[in-house]
Structure formats: structure tokens, C-alpha cells
Amino acid sequence: MKAESNDKDLLEGLARNDSGSIEILYKQNFAMIQSFIIQNNGSYDDARDIFQEAMMVLYEKAKDENFVLTSQIKTYVYSICRRLWLKRLQYNQKFVAPVDSIQETIPVEEEIEQKQKLDDNFEMMDVAMKSLGEPCKSLLEAYYINKKHMTEIADEFGYTNADNAKNQKYKCLMRLKKLFFAQYKNL
């Protein structure tokens, strides 16, 4: 019972972006995933990538109010990592013997699908951002990602006032939008 409420707290912390909770999640689960990946033809870098990807899935889920975790976080993370790693192995054409599965797993197909979509969107935005160039990229990041205030941004970027900065921001935003939606059309 206690473990369950603990899991719940951790999920809430994760949704809030709370470093403490993330650290605990990391400490509780990473070693297990690392040994799993290493035992199945992976490297330490692979283990880190896969684990962090799984944490991203968990993060998206934690933010979703309708999400109910039906198993322990441990099982959930393991299931996702296992699935992601199998996918990666397949993608790399490394057809290895069945991946060791001592742990119990739960079906996570839906999560993997959602993750793919999220990754695609992320990738598209990332491409758009990168082709935007400076100072637009930093300006937009400061406002929309780091949620800085306009006056702060004006200071930082050397605009004479917040209104100028704001105008510049909108110009950049329109370009970003164009770049982003252009990829949509290309799909």
C-alpha cells in the first residue's frame, strides 16, 4: 500500500518537473534497465538513451490527468524499455536471441505508438527551430520554453523596450510557424 502511494507521489512530482522526484525515479530504476540493455547487446549509452526515452513516456503520462498506472512504476518502465530496445534492435537489423525477460511485463503498445507520434512532432519542431537561425531561435526559446518575461528578454537581447522585443518575437514566430507547417505538408 505504501509503495503504491509512493509511486503516486513520484508521478506527481515528475509531472511538476520536480528534480527530487526525478532523481528518485532515476535511482530506483536505472540500474535494472542498464543491466537489461547491457545483457542484450547494448552499450552504456544505449542504456541511458532508452531509459531517458522511457522516462519521457512516463513524463507525458504523468502530465495526463486521465492516466492511471495499473502496475508498479518499475514494471511500467521495464516494459517500455524492453519494447523500445526490441524495436531499436530490429531497426538495426540485429536479430538476436529472444531478449531475456525475467521481469514481468505489461502491454505498452499504446504508449509506444503515442511516443512515436510525440517524437515525430518533437523532431519537426526541432528541425524548424534549427533552421530558424539566431537570434530568432534564442528569442523564441527564452519566451516560449524558458517562459521568461518580455522585459527580461528585451534586456538580455538588447532591445530598446519590451514592445520592440515583442514585435521581433512575433516576426520570428511567424517564420517558425511557416517552417513547421511546411513539414506537415510534406508528410
Binding site: 552499450s43 520554453i145 512575433y170
Partner: protein, 371 residues
């Protein structure tokens, strides 16, 4: 410029930063102008994407930081010995990857070619199960004919019919000292003449019972030269068999009797057939119909087939099928009522060489001649 003002309005509207008055005005405008409505929807979607992107980016950075931080404090590790070990293997692998790949593909192609040629040139080899009778090729046949011609001159006892050709060879063994043999149905199937051989002496035999479904046949030696044995040294085991039990076989994969030793590896046969068992032993064409015996020299089965694509996977009919075949035979024809399965074993506790010496007198090669 106008577009920027509009965008600002949309964004403030979406963020809920408008005053009540502004909001009603904007909503009114939005309702009247589809372009503005579309712009709001589009911007809403875009801002969501941007927010998600920002969220994910921040979380990724955070996870990365925490990873490095935990590595520094030693709360997670990247086990050093494993790194060195796997690095060495990886280095070797990386260095020779190309060579290995080339070698592997050549090996693969060669293997495929050879197996392709094998399956092309070998008749019937695409069947999953190889019946272990010997099929005589035409070439062998001519050779045999010549040998036989010579033998016939020196020795008048060869009973090969002159107008017929030998096409199959297998093994059989006595189940009644009076001259009743059991073998596989596929060994004797449709043969015009059957000749059984033991210790170089040939005898005519006839097929008195044939059950192709269970691959079992009973032969009767029908030859005045044959002298009935006083008794058989082995019995037919009625009790069940045990996994891992030591077994041995005697058969005629060549013209000499050949001994083989193995173990009982599964209590069912091909495709979970409960009427047979799987044994692990070397078996070759010609072994079909031979006895499978336990360590005491009792018959536990009749060797009948092997799996082609696996090594040492051989199947044997359970000995209980012999009793069933015999009772079927008696029902069909009352003249065989006196046939009795051996019940006493005189081999128990003896050395294997002694056991084999006595058993081999009861194991016959079966030659099938066809017109």
C-alpha cells in the same frame, strides 16, 4: 505589421490575457471572420506543439543533468570491468566485422548451395522424416548382381530371385523362436520376395501382417533351411519407459550388423505421437525395423525413422505396438494362435558384449526384392 497585431491579439486571447470587453469584441470578430477563426485554431495547435516541445526539451535536459550528477556521486554506475570486457570484444568485433560478414555470407551461400544440391539430387529427402530403410540405387544394384553371380558360383545358398531386383533393406528381429519376425511396414511394403539374412545365411520370409498406419509388419520365416531357436534371450518389455533411460540398438545399415548406444530422449514421437518415443542414437538407412533395447536387453521399441533436419533425433515405435499387432494377426488368422511373445530374459546383469552376442542371432537383415 497588421499581422503582428493580429497575432498578438490571438495569443493574448488564447492565454486569457484580454479584458472582458476586448474578449467580447474579439470573439465577435472571430465569429464573423472565418479567416481569424482559422488563425486562432492554427495558432492554438501550434502553441500547443511549441509548449510540448519546450516541455520535452527541458525534461530531456533535466534527465541528462541528473544522469551525469548521479554518475558523479556514484549512485548509478557504469560497471568498469564490464566496459573493459565488452570493449575488447567490441573492438575485435568492430575490427573484423567486415571479414566476418564476408566469411559468414560465403559460408551461408556455400551451405545453401550444398544443401540445395543435396535436396536436388537426393530423392525423397525433402520429406521431414526419413524412413530408415536402405534404398538400393541402380548402380549398387549392378554391383550387387555381379557379386551375387560370383557368390552363386561359389556358394549355392543365395536366395535372391534371379528375375527380381533388391530395392530395400532393413532390419527385423525375432519375437517368437519359431521364426516370427517383427519389422517396419515400410521395409517390406509391396516386396514381391522377402529374404532375411542372419550370420550370412539367407532365408525366405513372408509377410503375414502389415499395418502401414502404425508402420509395423510381422514376417514369418518360410524356409526349410531355417532351424527354430530353442528360446529367445530377451523379452518384450510391457512396462513404460523412462526418460533418460539408457538404450541400445542393433541393425543393418550395412551388410554387417551394427551396434548403437544412446538414451531415451522423449516419451512421445514425431508430432507428439504417443505410440512412439524419441531416442538419441546414431541411426542410418537400414536401421529401420531394428530392436531398441533397454540395459537389460529387453525390447522397448522398433526403430523406425529419424528427423532429417536434426541430428540424433530418432523415433521408435513403442514395444506395446508389437503385442497389439500380434493380437490383430491372431484375430485375422487363427493359424497364428500359437505365436507367443517371449517373456523371459536371460540377459539381465550380463555384460553388454555378452548380451549383444546372444541378441544378434535374433536380428535379421530384411531384403525386399521387386519385379
Amino acid at each position: 505589421m497588421e499581422e503582428i497585431v493580429l497575432l498578438d491579439a490571438v495569443e493574448r486571447y488564447l492565454n486569457g490575457e484580454m479584458t472582458a470587453q476586448e474578449k467580447t469584441y474579439f470573439e465577435d470578430l472571430r465569429a464573423k471572420t472565418p479567416e481569424i477563426d482559422q488563425m486562432v485554431v492554427e495558432h492554438h495547435l501550434f502553441l500547443n506543439q511549441l509548449n510540448q516541445y519546450g516541455d520535452q526539451k527541458q525534461m530531456k535536459a533535466k534527465l541528462h543533468d541528473i544522469h551525469n550528477q548521479l554518475l558523479e556521486t556514484g549512485e548509478i554506475t557504469q560497471g568498469e570491468p564490464l566496459v573493459i570486457k565488452s570493449a575488447k570484444v567490441l573492438q575485435l568485433w568492430n575490427r573484423h566485422k567486415r571479414t566476418i560478414a564476408v566469411a559468414a555470407s560465403i559460408a551461408g551461400i556455400t551451405a545453401l548451395t550444398i544443401s540445395g544440391m543435396m535436396s536436388y539430387f537426393t530423392p525423397k529427402s525433402n520429406a521431414e522424416i526419413d524412413k530408415l530403410k536402405r534404398d538400393m540405387s541402380k548402380f549398387e544394384q549392378t554391383q550387387k548382381d555381379q557379386t551375387r553371380a560370383i557368390l552363386n558360383i561359389n556358394n549355392a545358398i543365395s536366395k535372391a530371385p534371379k528375375d527380381q531386383q533388391q530395392r530395400s533393406a532393413g532390419t527385423s528381429f525375432l519375437i517368437d523362436a519359431k521364426g516370427y519376425l517383427v519389422t517396419n511396414s515400410h521395409v517390406v511394403n509391396n516386396a514381391a520376395t522377402l529374404v532375411v539374412v542372419n550370420n550370412g545365411k539367407e532365408y525366405y520370409a513372408k509377410n503375414v501382417f502389415n499395418d502401414p498406419a502404425n508402420d509395423i509388419a510381422i514376417l514369418k520365416i518360410d524356409d526349410k533351411d531355417f532351424q527354430a531357436l530353442t528360446s529367445l534371450p530377451y523379452s518384450i518389455r510391457k512396462s513404460g519407459t523412462d526418460l533418460g533411460e539408457e538404450i541400445f540398438t542393433l541393425g543393418y545399415p550395412r551388410n554387417q550388423i551394427v551396434y548403437g548406444k544412446g538414451y531415451l530422449s522423449a516419451l512421445s514421437g514425431n508430432n507428439d505421437d504417443t505410440l512412439s518415443v524419441q531416442i538419441s542414437v546414431d541411426a542410418n538407412p537400414g536401421n529401420s525395423g531394428g530392436p531398441v533395447m533397454d540395459k537389460n536387453g529387453d525390447v522397448i521399441g522398433i526403430l523406425n525413422s529419424r528427423q532429417v533436419n536434426a541430428n540424433g533425433v530418432v523415433f521408435a515405435n513403442k514395444a506395446s505396438n508389437i503385442a497389439k499387432a500380434l493380437s490383430d494377426l491372431k484375430e485375422d488368422d487363427t493359424t497364428y494362435r500359437s505365436v507367443k511373445l517371449p517373456v523371459a530374459n536371460s540377459l539381465k546383469g550380463k555384460e553388454r558384449t555378452q548380451q549383444v552376442k546372444q541378441i544378434q542371432n535374433c536380428v535379421f537383415m530384411v531384403k525386399g526384392y521387386y519385379k
